[in-house]
């Protein structure tokens, strides 16, 4: 017994390094990303071609599938930031982000268009519209947050309220009109969802990058990470350590509200119009999936925003890949479901336990052979 243990020792350390790498959270989305990249490289390397194209407005912009991924993935990445925090602190997810995007987008359009569904000039500056949308979104985030933190309603149930009512509220903000900002009215408005003339990289990419930098700074210069994780892991203990779990939860929901406003702003800018019944539809599922794919425990606690963001781009890449191969968009959710199944199964404690047992058995039998 003693000899076999001695023999085991060096093996375990080399095995230990591998285990250590694989236990790093960020590995999960990276593996998924690599799998997708590999698939596309083999199936059709043109997926990675990037070209410079001239738009109808006469500007040069970058084009190609990869550009599409990082462009359309922007909203997902931004929302994944907020969703990760919400998940960490409250141990649940906000399923109302699609509906609140409709609200945020409607607010932007309403402030810009005023009473007129197709104005000839903007009724206020774009920055004002954006700020109003942020404030409104924060309020709705706070609404969800209060239900979760103070009334202790399960996050999914609490946010079901806005999930149900959000699009009606959005329609009501717009007085059920389809608002439309034509290029004649404002060229600038479309810049945020498309390209700024002369800059070939789509603007949403910059906005997403800005959000990532901001959250990185927030996490560096505040205790948001420590507080949110503590509250998510052990609210009792957090309370006895002077943290107010309710406030922390509320803050994360308000932050998600800001993310929703930014994402909604990009979305309306992309098309310069809003249809509150279809904008951001089912995006909450993609966002939650991104958080899960990032390896974050959906029951709260530890989190890794970088992993979530990579997860978001993986989801978008999956969507773009599937669209490229003409998979019907009605079938795309089925493929995403497969990803979910794999994720859930791999991260299930039972499976992990089985895996470690299997590994132990393998090493043990190997060692046994060596001894004999």
């Amino acid at each position: 017994m003693a000899t076999s243990q001695n023999l085991l020792q060096p093996k375990q350390t080399t095995g230990g390094i591998v285990t250590k790498i694989f236990s790093k959270q960020i590995v999960i989305p990276l593996i998924a990303l690599m799998a997708l990249v590999l698939f596309n490289l083999i199936a059709d390397p043109s997926f990675f071609h990037i070209t410079l194209k001239e738009t109808n407005d006469g500007y040069n912009v970058l084009a190609g599938n990869i550009i599409s991924v990082i462009d359309y993935g922007s909203e997902l990445a931004i929302l994944a930031i907020g969703m990760t925090l919400v998940t960490s602190s409250s141990g649940g997810q906000d399923i109302s982000v699609g509906a609140t995007i409709a609200i945020a987008g409607s607010v932007v359009m309403r402030v810009l268009c005023g009473e007129n569904s197709a104005p000839t000039e903007l009724q206020s500056s774009i920055i004002v519209a954006f700020i109003v949308a942020v404030i409104v979104s924060m309020l709705f985030g706070a609404f969800n947050g209060v239900l979760v933190a103070y009334f202790k309603i399960q996050p999914m149930v609490a946010t079901l309220i806005m999930f149900t009512a959000g699009r009606s509220i959005a329609g009501w903000i717009n007085e059920n009109k389809i608002m439309n900002i034509s290029p004649e009215c404002s060229r600038e408005f479309a810049y945020f969802g498309n390209n700024i003339p002369g800059i070939p990289v789509p603007t949403p990419v910059f906005i997403a990058a800005a959000c990532m930098i901001i959250i990185a700074l927030v996490l560096k210069f505040t205790n948001l990470r420590l507080y949110s994780q503590s509250v998510g892991i052990n609210p009792n203990s957090s309370k006895l350590n002077g943290i107010n779990p309710q406030t922390v939860k509320l803050i994360t929901y308000v932050i998600l509200g800001v993310c929703v406003a930014v994402a909604g702003f990009i979305k309306v800018s992309r098309l310069s119009t809003i249809n509150y019944s279809t904008i951001g539809k089912d995006i909450e599922m993609d966002v939650i999936l991104a958080v899960a794919l990032g390896g974050n425990p959906l029951g709260g606690g530890k989190f890794n925003i970088t992993a979530s963001i990579i997860g978001a781009y993986v989801i978008q890449m999956l969507t773009t890949t599937l669209t490229k191969y003409d998979v019907k968009s009605t079938e795309i959710p089925a493929y995403k479901a497969i990803v979910v199944i794999i994720l859930v199964v791999v991260s299930a404690p039972v499976v992990r336990q089985k895996m470690t047992q299997l590994k132990k058995k393998l090493t043990a039998s190997k060692v046994g052979k060596e001894v004999s």
Partner: protein, 502 residues
């Protein structure tokens, strides 16, 4: 004697990995008897009950019911044999009616004649004097009545042995009285009742006999008249009355100037957790303690001091100046820290690293916008890992993978790092190895020598005697005595805990 015995358990053994939960325990219950099963936490009370009700298979011994050998492999077996249990937590369905609750899962066949059942339930409730109507929704009854309905359900299942596991812990005094009446009427009907509780008063009120367990072993079976309270306490705690080894040296106590202004003082402090308003004070360099049996309110008192539970009244002063503590952060800002009783639930933040657990309190005190740098945090963590000899792979290791004793040291490090003026340690030594226990005791004395004030709570009296210069004794949510100097002896403490005669 043997003839009237209803239940006999002989030589019961039960082992868990590394733990000897029950070793050769005998237990006898007679017809029409209320028999208290006593012992401190971990004595083996609940294990014995679980063996009896078939939750755990026994590793040795024999169970006889009315003289006949029975084998109980599942709760269902126990029920069929006439052994019913009513647990502390109500295990009935509050959204069903009283009658439905009494008969659920017991009706045979597809058809159920609810009318008949309601009548039957009504008769039964009447005969037991339970103030509930069969068609009333259970949730609308008081907890005591719900408890009684659970008993009625058990009784109706032709039970011969009724086990009441801490039935009174969520009841008020009148409700307890009602429950006792019911128990006495059942007793008259010949039912044998096993009563598990930690309330001494209640034991002496209704019980006929007491069986005391300690560390998984039988201490003895006693007729209630033969065992005065103080003796019971000494049996439970495992200290002979005359074991008067006085460990505490008077040297430390002498240094404390009791005429000085207390570091912390509370007057008529009251909370919502069932303790009576109490006065308390601690001085610089003093180590004092709250003692009493489990559930006597000692944790609730210190939680009230810390603002962990809602405080409803009282005046709190630090260094003579009145302050306001309504939440833990208030206490923390005044340098009062609290190491909670339940380490898993209230202490560690399991998935976070040892480092994060150590800096948590200091970090909260510094504020949300002033995070401690990674390098600084590592320095703090390493310092305290060395100082308290915390055994961990690195400061990055999640705290949950540490042993209990090391987890406790991490929590201690957390509070020490925050530089306490007054430190409250609630059961800091529970469930940890002897070596670490002694380290912690030494640490407490060292802190006091450095001029800090410490309140130390422990279930082990000799531990408190070793560390505390003054003891506040609690019983049933009340402060019933304060002992210091000459009075700090096991005998005196036990007598005060037991109260009543003696």
């Amino acid at each position: 004697m043997e003839k009237s015995s209803l239940l006999e358990m002989r030589g019961i053994c039960k082992y868990f990995p590394n733990v000897r939960a029950l070793e050769q325990v005998d237990f006898t219950l007679r017809e029409g008897e209320i028999h208290a099963l006593m012992g401190e936490n971990g004595a083996g009370k609940s294990t014995l009950i679980k063996v009896l009700t078939g939750v755990y298979p026994k590793d040795g011994g024999e169970i006889r019911l009315s003289g006949k050998h029975v084998s109980i492999r599942s709760p269902q077996d126990a029920q069929n044999a006439g052994i019913s249990t009513v647990y502390q937590e109500i295990t009935l369905c509050p959204n069903l009616t009283v009658a439905e609750n009494m008969f659920i899962g017991r009706t045979k066949g597809q058809l159920t004649n609810w009318k008949k059942i309601n009548t039957h339930a009504g008769e039964l409730l009447d005969s037991l004097g339970i103030p509930a109507l069969p068609q009333q929704q259970l949730g609308s009854c008081s907890i005591a009545v719900q408890q009684m309905v659970a008993i009625a359900r058990a009784v109706d299942m032709e039970c011969k042995v009724l086990i009441l596991d801490e039935p009174t812990s969520s009841l008020d005094e009148q409700e307890v009285e009602k429950l006792f009446k019911l128990m006495l009427s059942l007793k008259k009907k010949g039912v044998g009742i096993i009563f598990v509780t930690h309330f001494l008063e209640q034991v002496y009120e209704v019980c006929d006999r007491i069986t005391v367990l300690r560390d998984g072993q039988l201490v003895g079976e006693y007729i209630i008249e033969d065992l005065p309270r103080v003796k019971l306490v000494s049996k439970m705690l495992g200290k002979e009355l005359d074991d008067m080894a006085d460990i505490k040296s008077d040297a430390d106590t002498a240094k404390i100037d009791y005429s000085s202004t207390p570091v912390y003082e509370a007057q008529k402090l009251a909370g919502t957790t069932g303790i009576k308003p109490f006065d308390f004070a601690i001085r610089k360099g003093e180590v004092n303690g709250f003692t009493g049996l489990l559930g006597s309110g000692r944790s609730e008192c210190v939680r009230a001091i810390y603002g962990a539970d809602k405080v409803t009244g009282g005046i709190v002063k630090m260094d003579g100046k009145q302050i306001n503590i309504t939440k833990p952060l208030d206490a923390m800002k005044h340098g009062i820290f609290y190491l909670a009783e339940d380490r898993k639930r209230d202490g560690i933040v399991g998935d976070l690293s040892v480092r994060e657990n150590i800096i948590l309190a200091l970090q909260v005190l510094k504020g949300f916008f002033r995070p401690i740098s990674r390098a600084q945090a590592e320095a703090f963590a390493d310092e305290y890992i060395k100082l308290l000899k915390i055994k961990t792979a690195s400061s990055d290791t999640p705290i949950k993978s540490l042993s209990g004793g090391n987890q406790q040291k991490v929590i201690l490090a957390r509070w020490l790092l925050a530089n306490p003026i007054y430190l409250i340690l609630d059961e800091p030594t529970r469930g940890i190895d002897i070596g670490t226990k002694i380290e912690i005791q030494k640490l407490v004395l060292k802190l006091a020598a450095e001029g800090k004030s410490v309140t130390f709570i422990s279930s082990e009296i000799d531990e408190m005697l070793r560390t505390c210069s003054r003891l506040i004794v609690m019983r049933d949510g009340r402060v019933v005595g304060e002992l210091s100097g000459e009075d700090l002896t096991q005998n005196k403490i036990m007598a005060t805990i037991a109260g009543g005669e003696s």
